[in-house]
Amino acid sequence: MSIVTVQLGQCGNQIGHEVFSALCSDIRGTHGLCSKTENESYQDACKERFFSEEESGVPAARAVLVDMEPKVISQTLSMAARSGHWKYNSHSHFCQKQGSGNNWANGYCVHGPRHKEAIMDLVQKEAEKCERLGGFFTIMSMAGGTGSGLGAFVTQCLRDAFPTSFLLNHVIWPYGTGEVIVQNYNSVLTLSHLYHSSDALLVHENDVIHKICAQLMNIKQISFRDVNQVIAHQLGSVFQPTHTAGGGSGYSRNPLGDLLEPLVPHPEFRLLGLRNIPQMAESSLAFSTFSWPGLLKHLRQILIANAHMEEGIDWQVRPPQPGSSMPSTNKPLHFNTSIANLVILRGKDVHSVDLGSFQDPSLYTSWLNPQDAFNAWKTPRAFNKYEKSAALVSNSQFLLKPLDSIVGKAWNMFASKAYLHQYTKFGIQEEDFLDCFTTLEQVISSYTNL
């Protein structure tokens, strides 16, 4: 099954490019560490999922690029073409000239309706190229105006036009100390709207990835390109082909469905966090060896203690004692309660890995059987030069604090009425803001009371 990606705004397009780059580089790599047939299966599955064949022989990404100003798309298209190994379809992009001015209302109320037809037309064309459409993956930031506002509008259109398809939004949360002054308003508006039309939100926070770049990758002068490449690696580690548990011998044919159905059992809980281990500078890779028990021990503690990476984990945090009925307020501090988790293992000796520690009922709410709350995908094919790597996609309290912080700051600004005239000018009124705050306070409350 194929996934159609929609890249929205500067962030969405910059990241999208790094993702397809990473996927392509991975399948062309010779570090698969597996049998030739396995490798070929993997390559074919990846190509079917993310690329379409063109007459030129150069695979074209199954993607639609959307932006309200031309510079980024123009750069993105030419960078891809220069790689020689993949490209974007020369028609699958839509852009305008004036931008959205970091104004969610402008993106949603003005650009959205104005350009809906043209954009959905491109999406339809890409969808038709898929023999079997597995769903949509949108990439956007929520701080600006296009990715956030137009992105929310396009998501709604996708939902309306493809009501039975899976729809996963990849959302970038901005640096806390500001890239855009009205980022918290734009974020509140985006998240609340996506909650109503998307299946799930897969989140990356710039602050977290920045730390990974600084502490794990040892990059001195971190650029957005560095940040985007880490994000692309993490996404690749989730979306490159794997065998699902009951999937027989072939690679999974329904990646989005396999991800979303177990991870989002309840519509109130749609926020997914992503963790990846190990993560290091390529130059260090050759000198490092890892064991599965070591990797999984760290990954489990990252989950439980709500850590961002394998350094600085708080090992004191423990799950609550089993058997005792604990009201959520008495749960051990800082313990991250999960609704559902997915672990993806790639590389050497995956078949022998014991994942029992992730099925511990004390990690989860009581709604699902632990067997249903936890899922695992595996492939012996190593990813992106890591001999062994593990990814975790988690529906848990990972994003509770950051979400609460964003809503708090937005509310603080809203109370002073600052910047509201910029939004009302384009059609978003105070009542619309209030509705969005209400939606998100509800989400915060739900996740708090797990």
């Binding site: 931008g99 100390t177 500001g178 890239e179 855009v180 002054i181 920045h210 971190i222 650029s223």
Partner: protein, 474 residues
């Protein structure tokens, strides 16, 4: 996206002239292949002049003849004529000029009421023509001074017109404010009358003071002549230098100061013209820096002022550049933002600077700055890959800060000194359309603005009480 600058009056046109000169230099440095590209199109049309000046626009391909997207308006001919006889003569054509002969006599009312009325149709027609040539018009820039008659009066008349004719296009105004020792006695009248228009019709105003520009020019002269640098300064890197001038002495007295303002405009629009990892368009500047419609006065600082030519001397540490942007030596108006309240702040960085450099410096500088309680993380940032000519990196800081209040209070005081005695009032009131109420409304508008800043200042340093969040029924 296209920007259309209007230069109105003597000061406006002198600055404008510097601007076009430096814009051409900047694009020539970047555009090696002579192809007319998206970046060039934001300020220049590409015209096929082989069969004369009225040739068609060429949208792609090789550069034929670049014409500035501009309107030059002056009620005296001196400055505009000089431009048309100088090296920039081919960059403008007669369709972009509106001139008269007698000037406005340093009288806002003459500029606004008499010439405004007289030239309204002409201006609108030329404006529409200029806009027709634009693929997507995003922003108007008005460059003028506040203290005289044409720039101040006709300039603000044009501002009104722009709002009427093109309500969706942003209006940025670069205004040179008069000093206390200004030799135009009625400059307080002209400025306050103009302020009312700026309050009501501008999206963003960048106030400039000649003293600040003068001090920057002096500082540079001192540095060069003191021999402290131990090495030559790259001539073309001086924020005060003109194109191709191998000498530090300027030909015309205000050139050095005007070049600073021209550089301000180039830096302001750089991220809209050139690529970068975090683009910042002009509409984003307006969106992020104007929390309430009338509070749209932005203090600008530019850094660095020069770069050393000797490559063996390490370039000034990046962090020093950020510190300088918050030093009063680099501001284009005299004000004290560090001791006042920030409503919002934007940092537009050019050159080889990455997001980690930005973050590190924001973290470092934040503790010494006071931000309003509802905007504690009020930073808007942009990263443009292309540095200005002669530099490896540069920074433009724009602050919406209550420190502009003293400037406005001073202006109000100077106005009142004259107004109480009714000095020179008759020169204004005798103009058709001018009444006493124009004055009282103008000073009232200014007072209201000052009061808005007062209210915000009152919140500074007070206890921080965050409003309680919405309660959700569980």
């Amino acid at each position: 996206a296209v920007s259309l600058p209007f230069a109105v009056g003597q000061c406006g046109n002198q600055v404008g002239c510097r601007f076009w000169d430096l814009a051409l230099r900047e694009h020539a440095a970047v555009n090696k292949k002579g192809i007319y590209d998206e970046a060039l199109s934001s300020f220049f049309r590409n015209v096929d002049t082989r069969s004369g000046d009225n040739g068609p626009d060429i949208y792609k391909g090789k550069i034929c003849s670049l014409k500035a997207r501009a309107l030059l308006i002056d009620m005296e001919e001196g400055v505009v004529n000089e431009i048309l006889q100088g090296p920039l003569r081919d960059v403008f054509d007669s369709k972009q000029l509106i001139t008269d002969v007698s000037g406005s006599g340093n009288n806002w009312a003459v500029g606004h009421k008499i010439y405004g009325c007289q030239y309204q149709e002409n201006i609108v027609e030329k404006l529409r023509k200029a806009a027709e040539h634009c693929d997507c018009l995003q922003c108007f820039f008005i460059i003028h001074s506040m203290g005289g008659g044409t720039g101040s009066g006709l300039g603000t008349f044009v501002l009104n017109l722009l709002e009427e004719e093109f309500p969706e296009v942003y209006r940025f105004v670069t205004s040179v404010y008069p000093s206390g020792e200004d030799d135009v006695i009625t400059s307080p009248y002209n400025s306050v009358l103009a302020m009312k228009e700026l309050n009501e019709h501008a999206d963003c105003v960048l106030p400039i003071e000649n003293e600040s520009l003068f001090e920057i020019v002096n500082k540079i002269h001192q540095m060069i002549n003191s021999g402290k640098l131990g090495s030559t300064v790259k001539q073309n890197s001086l924020v005060t230098s003109s194109t191709g001038s191998g000498k530090t002495l300027q030909e015309k007295p205000f050139d050095a100061m005007n070049n600073i303002v021209a550089n301000l405009l180039l830096n302001l629009t750089s991220s809209a013209r050139f690529e970068g990892s975090l683009n910042m368009d002009l509409n984003e500047i307006s969106m992020n820096l104007v929390p309430f419609p009338r509070l749209h006065y932005l203090v600008s600082s530019l850094t660095p002022l020069y770069t050393l030519a000797d490559v063996n001397i390490p370039s000034r540490r990046l962090d020093q550049m950020f510190s300088d942007a918050f030093s009063r030596d680099h501001q284009l108006i005299r004000a004290d933002p560090k001791h006042s309240l920030y409503l919002a702040c934007a940092l537009l960085v050019r050159g080889n600077v990455q997001v980690s450099d930005l973050r590190r410096n924001i973290e470092r500088l934040k503790p010494s700055l006071h931000f309003v309680s509802w905007n504690q993380e009020g930073w808007k940032t942009g990263l443009c890959s292309v540095p200005p000519v002669g530099h490896s990196h540069s920074l433009l800081a724009l602050a919406n800060n209550t420190c502009v209040k003293p400037t406005f209070i001073e202006l109000k005081d100077r106005f009142m000194k004259l107004y109480k005695k009714k000095a020179h009032l008759h020169h204004y009131l005798q103009i058709d359309g001018m009444e006493q109420s124009c004055f009282s409304e103008a000073i009232s508008s200014l007072s209201d603005l000052i009061e808005e800043y007062n209210e915000l200042d009152a919140t500074k340093g007070g206890p921080r009480i965050d409003p309680s969040r919405l309660k959700i029924a569980v």
